[in-house]
Symmetry: C2
Subunit: 411 residues, 2 copies
Amino acid sequence: MIFQATFFYYFSDGEATSLPFAGKTTMIKCNKCGEVDAIAKSGIVRGKQRYHCKRCDYYFTQPSLLTPETHHQRRHQTTIMDIASALQISKSTVSRALQGHSDINENTRKAVLDMAHQLDYQPNLLALGLAKSRSYTIGIIVPEFINSFFPYIIIGAQQVANPAGYHVIICQSNESLETEIANTNVLMASRVDGVVASVTAETKSLDHFQKFQRAGIPLVMFNRICDGLDVSKVLVDDYDGAYRGVEHLIQQGCTRIAHLAGPQNLQVGKQRLRGYLDALRDYNLPVYDELIVYCNLTKTSAQAAARQLLDLPTPPDSIFGVNDPAAIQTILIAKSKGISIPNDLAIVGFSNEPTSALIEPGLTTLAQPLDEIGKTTVQFLLNEIEDDTILPQTEILKTQLIVRASSLRRR
Amino acid sequence: MIFQATFFYYFSDGEATSLPFAGKTTMIKCNKCGEVDAIAKSGIVRGKQRYHCKRCDYYFTQPSLLTPETHHQRRHQTTIMDIASALQISKSTVSRALQGHSDINENTRKAVLDMAHQLDYQPNLLALGLAKSRSYTIGIIVPEFINSFFPYIIIGAQQVANPAGYHVIICQSNESLETEIANTNVLMASRVDGVVASVTAETKSLDHFQKFQRAGIPLVMFNRICDGLDVSKVLVDDYDGAYRGVEHLIQQGCTRIAHLAGPQNLQVGKQRLRGYLDALRDYNLPVYDELIVYCNLTKTSAQAAARQLLDLPTPPDSIFGVNDPAAIQTILIAKSKGISIPNDLAIVGFSNEPTSALIEPGLTTLAQPLDEIGKTTVQFLLNEIEDDTILPQTEILKTQLIVRASSLRRR
DNA sequence: AAAATTATTGAAAACGATTGAAATCGCGTT
DNA sequence: AACGCGATTTCAATCGTTTTCAATAATTTT
């Protein structure tokens, strides 16, 4: 009452109201003492009007009036709390019942499980991950998945990861280093528990993968690796496969064997080249520099390389391609040039893409145990996740030579 | 001192200690009154020894002594708090600085950004999602990704989703309904902001997709849809494509045209069959029931269907396959039987798989704008995520007939 | 039947971010 | 020198779970 005299503290906010008097004066109540009269505007905070209560000398702003409706976001999925309040028990009990904790009364557990089912409860993986500091998610980085090579590996990977309770985030980098780096960041941010990766053809440094190591996130590389990181690896015996592929060409009577080689920053590229060279050497065949051309695993660069080989003054009598897609492009170009396969040109690829069996002539190639690569890789990773004292290990799987018409010369 | 007499309350925990006296007695101090002498073991709670203080009649257990070291889990990624304490400011300030909030001092912001970079800060998406009730993640469910059809769509999808700030979780169901259902659950649990899906060939009911609708999570179906759900859809004009494919066969002089049809629970299956029937009708060709056989889109069932057609007493002079993989299997079987393509048997597929251009003879087919399907689908989804008043809409994209040797008869 | 144990349940503090509201810091004005 | 006010910054509550420790109920032992 005393303060009613301080009339100048009244103010109008300009909004029409339905108050019986004045018709345009909104009362502001002090958040602390409840005073209504001795309130004055006092500046702006973060775009909101601030008030000052003279009585209790208190600055405040008007709380935004959010109804419980407004406040709760429109999308609401049932939580552990919903179950708890439906059952009039604490959320700890619900949590324990759901987790299958041993010291929960059987009846309680049953009730909780029933209610969870009834309310269609799905645990919030975000909250779970936050609480446990584990996401139960592993990341897979592959350079592409247009060819069926990596998809098959991914399927194998999922077959191991899912039963173990892990989800999989698939990232494909489109053979772009930049995207690959972005992918590593996404996986870091997603707090994956581990990562398996096969790098792009243009990846030369593994700096962006060291993030994982620094953060203590296990990493396993497969298939396409490059040097400089002390991690577990799952590979196929590229050297051996290449050797046997070239040996096969030699046995077919080829002597001028070319190699459509892969990028040398990748072990696959290096090892397959090495196998090629050693096979030639062991069989006392000369190595011609002009018969070794490189590609970066893209379709266009493979085509260019193939053309370069076939346009040589003295073209090769056979080509060992770094992988099937490259070999297939070679077949197409040879055919378009009217070169007869395998008699004028025998061809061997690497990895046994499904297409290689369909094309004509069928492509001789080295099959890789894709499923097994995926499974082994993830198994290594899970071991490291569960027990971080494990030392990096390397598994090398064997390839299998599949002979088809592209290299089989009639004697 | 008084309580020193109650000697029997002392106990030994069996561990050797370096106490000057006794050499094997660990003192337990009451958590409430600090008493050391009048403490007795009193049962086990959750596997931990419980004690009882005689003096204040209080039951308690020994708090596990976690050093800050032990407590922090071995894997630690930098958090907003790390930045805050490094800079001696509050975490709210850091958060606002990182978000680019306007009312942050420029120097502060710069310092925060620097420190964030220096500490290699990556926001914890789990925490972020929890706080904002949005995961900034969308889920993609596809039946398979061995063929390059879905991978191309996924790439298109990512090209729209990523720039918009969304990550993508890819789930493949391996054409198994059970896996598809599991996938929907994973996506629900991951609190994705939206889902785009293409169902398996065996999916007849969409009950498991209603979860999303109930939870208010936008859903857009593409390509393989089935009836019964009021959602946005992105399709190609299967009817039109089929009609034109069959029309092309008719124009090549075929009169006994068979259809290796897809499952009729899917719209693709239905519409392509309808287009086939209408084309025959419009050109006054008879429809023979025996010339329509169904497959479930797997390789083996496609092979069985193809065999069934080719083994008929009066085999067809041409086959319109529900998709390229089915048509390719048909080609292979026909070739193995010595049937000449296209003269004895003309073949048309649907979807223009890369393989279709490589096989011999090249497969005539209807190309779908895969990239565009992916982009449009995700665009629809993003619209619904941002603004949930949007009504379901349907986009139908055109196909393009690509004529290759498998159907081109010399006149 | 009191005491000791065991079996269950509850309360509260993390986890790492966002965000509404309050608190401080300066600096011209009275 | 106190005020008024904008510019920043800090505080504290939340999001949905887990998990530690305490509390209460039930059951055995003395």
